[in-house]
């Protein structure tokens, strides 16, 4: 193949940075441990449960984001993949938020 033309195989074969998978895993494990321990002792923590449970959801989203960015390589791959992942996530969040507002009203 001519060097003037870049094929899709060559584009995908371009080396990209490899994250420190161990550091990401340790971060994920720590967040999981925090969530679990907090849930087990939730009755003895002097903070409203709604606040704590909102924190659980936020921490779970942080974990999901870490997996998507580093394990699924969205941080390093083409931005087009990120668009295909984030767009339905926005729709999903919108759906859940609409339902949540329906409960609050």
């Amino acid at each position: 193949m001519s060097s003037a033309v870049t094929t899709h195989d060559e584009i995908e074969a371009k080396p990209h940075k490899h994250p420190n998978y161990w550091a990401v895993f340790i971060a994920l494990a720590i967040i999981t441990a925090i969530i679990t321990v907090t849930e087990l002792f939730i009755d003895s923590i002097p903070v409203p449960k709604e606040v704590i449970r909102t924190g659980f959801v936020v921490m779970s989203f942080i974990k999901a984001t870490l997996v998507a960015m580093y394990y699924m390589h969205l941080k390093f791959d083409s931005f087009i993949y990120s668009i295909f992942f984030i767009t339905p996530v926005i729709f999903a969040l919108f759906l859940v938020l609409i339902l949540a507002i329906g409960y609050l009203i």
Partner: protein, 197 residues
């Protein structure tokens, strides 16, 4: 000789197609989650053996352990990918086998959880909580089982039964990893939305 032009996006068709599939899966699971959030709230308090809600029947420590197991299996998949990209076949196969073990353990624990809920706690599909809970977690479990079957096929190939993988030819592992990580992400969200809030 026919020379094909490069694709306009400059992306591998197989990987791009799989991301489109994942996008559809995001919408699929978001509807199931929304379904659970609405229906599980509508069960009357005290309808399950005097406990306030169906959620109180769930075993959180066991499920937290299971969450950690699935998270670890995601980790071993990226380590397997990294190993094959470096051409380390032995480490690659080892991490795939560990992933299979963790994934099987996850399904085993989920089966045990279902057994306890159905046989001992009497949670049935005829309640709103039971129906939405089993539908949501069951579909996720089916995705894990599908991933395990895919992984067994990959293992056959990794051990040379149907060709093999190399530092230059490992896109199949990367695409499997995308699927497995997505299933992991779904579970991370399910764990907080179903078991914790």
């Amino acid at each position: 000789m026919v020379v094909h032009p490069p694709p306009s996006l400059g992306l591998d068709n197989r990987k791009f197609g799989f991301w489109v599939f994942i996008a559809s899966e995001v919408l699929f699971f978001s509807v199931l989650i929304a379904n659970f959030l609405v229906l599980s709230k509508q069960d009357p308090a005290g309808s399950f053996h005097g406990v306030a809600t169906g959620r109180e029947l769930l075993n959180i420590p066991l499920t937290a352990l299971n969450t950690f197991i699935l998270l670890t299996s995601s980790f071993t998949v990226v380590l397997a990918l990294e190993a094959i990209q470096k051409g380390n076949q032995k480490l690659f196969r080892t991490f795939l086998l560990v992933t299979l073990a963790f994934g099987s353990f996850f399904i085993g624990v989920q089966g045990y959880e279902y057994f306890i809920l159905i046989v001992h706690e009497g949670l049935s599909m005829s309640t709103l909580f039971g129906a939405s809970f089993f539908t949501l977690t069951g579909f996720h479990g089916a995705h894990v089982v599908g991933g395990l079957i895919w992984l067994v096929i990959i293992l056959f190939k990794a051990f040379g039964v149907m060709g093999g993988f190399s530092a230059q030819d490992n896109l199949g592992i990367e695409i499997f990893g995308l699927y497995w990580h997505f299933v992991d992400i779904v579970w991370l969200l399910l764990f907080s939305l179903v078991y914790l809030i």
